[in-house]
Symmetry: C3
Subunit: 182 residues, 3 copies
């Protein structure tokens, strides 16, 4: 009986320790879920009303709202309602919309600050994911925070790794977003 | 003595498992607290300085800062300092202020993006609650994220369900906010 | 052997209870880590291009983008790329940049709303910390939320207590930020 007791003891100790260990690991190192999505941004330039998905709403002195400003776009804020797709093709069927803002805040390099949401509404994904963070645009892979979610993403948090493909024109770029969250 | 030992064992096993189970349930499905609050937004229109609680700060070409723009308000950002009340009456005693921004980002429907805080300072509530999220205005009930809090809302997270009553005039609307958070 | 068993029991009970207790305490009352940083904001005034670290991007009617507006700056949004230092000296070696926005939303007192990130890239700190919250500027110590992090601050949350020193000139102020997060 004693050895049985000992086995139970060991099992309980193991349970406590492993649970503490796993919860720590989960919190800090192991993403629970990943989701790879793309979104496509076409900036309004005064002529592309039909296609445009984002609009510049502030500009520094000397610039207007139909072209990104010189000086690393410093002073531009743009609002966006960009289609989200499952691959990098602008013409793929959208699974949702990326809505929010991006703004340019630096005078000596290209840096943006992002606050936006993925609003997903398909049979696969129903809910929204909310992001904020600094985006050092010229870095190939950069991380922002997933700060919350709704619907099936209720209480989710984590990070999203953003990658820009080449700007395909003066007004069109797309971003790949690797979301890792719980 | 052995049976006593067994009872203790069982109790410990139960404790470990139930604690693991409860913590999982709490995190994903059961809101810990709810709070129902209302806030009231009166947009500055150039004539209502005394009553206005929010101000348009960006406008698309062809519009100024004293009227929400056509085209689904696309291009308007407004900053707000709106009274929060416990019921839907604008004239009820405020329990705090809703501060931050709302912006309109879509060209073919009414959609806003919100970043704001509830700053509460009464004997009942002391602290702030921070929100971000997409707001598909025409949907009757829509969810945004509670991304953090301070004071008595330290470390709180969750969601808030927003409901708009009818716009009562061109410049006044109020929102009901059902906060569910831990 | 029985007394040994009892000791082990007591130890396990203590372990379970203390772990439950600590995890509750950690979540709600005990900051896991603290970090004290300073950031320095020099507003662009039309003449200080070389030194300026932030730029006003919206202004109410009657004001331009090179001076904070009267009326408690209501209607100003500024974007920032401010150096972060380990002490309150503007000329200390920066450990990163504070990027994002601050906006003024109130007509009868000085109140800002903040959304920004600390981007740290030194041997000591590598990662970003994301903040949002209401900032009642005239209060000596006020709290905003840490809503997420990246790099070594992955999954971090908490609060940051902000303190303003006196404005040192019309365009320069610095803030002390006491970050308490897990």
């Amino acid at each position: 009986m004693k050895s049985k007791n000992h086995l139970l003891f060991l099992f309980l100790v193991f349970l406590s320790l492993s649970s503490a260990f796993l919860s720590k690991k989960t919190k800090h190192h192991k993403p629970c879920k990943t989701l790879v999505l793309y979104f496509h941004d076409i900036i309004y330039n005064g002529k592309n009303t039909a296609n445009a998905t984002s609009a510049i709403v502030t500009a520094p002195p000397g610039y207007n709202l139909t072209i990104l400003a010189g000086n690393f776009h410093l002073g531009n804020i743009a609002v966006l309602d960009d289609p989200i797709t499952l691959d990098n093709n602008l013409h793929s069927k959208p699974v949702g919309q990326a809505q929010g803002l991006h703004m340019y805040d630096t005078k000596n390099t290209f840096t943006a600050w992002l606050g936006f949401s993925f609003v997903l509404n398909t049979t696969e994904y129903k809910g929204s994911i909310n992001f904020i963070g600094a985006d050092p645009i010229l870095v190939e892979e950069r991380d922002i925070s997933v700060v919350g979610g709704t619907g099936e993403f209720f209480m989710h948090r984590g990070i999203a790794t953003i990658m820009t493909d080449t700007f395909e024109s003066e007004v069109y770029f797309w971003l790949r977003v690797d979301i890792k969250f719980c």
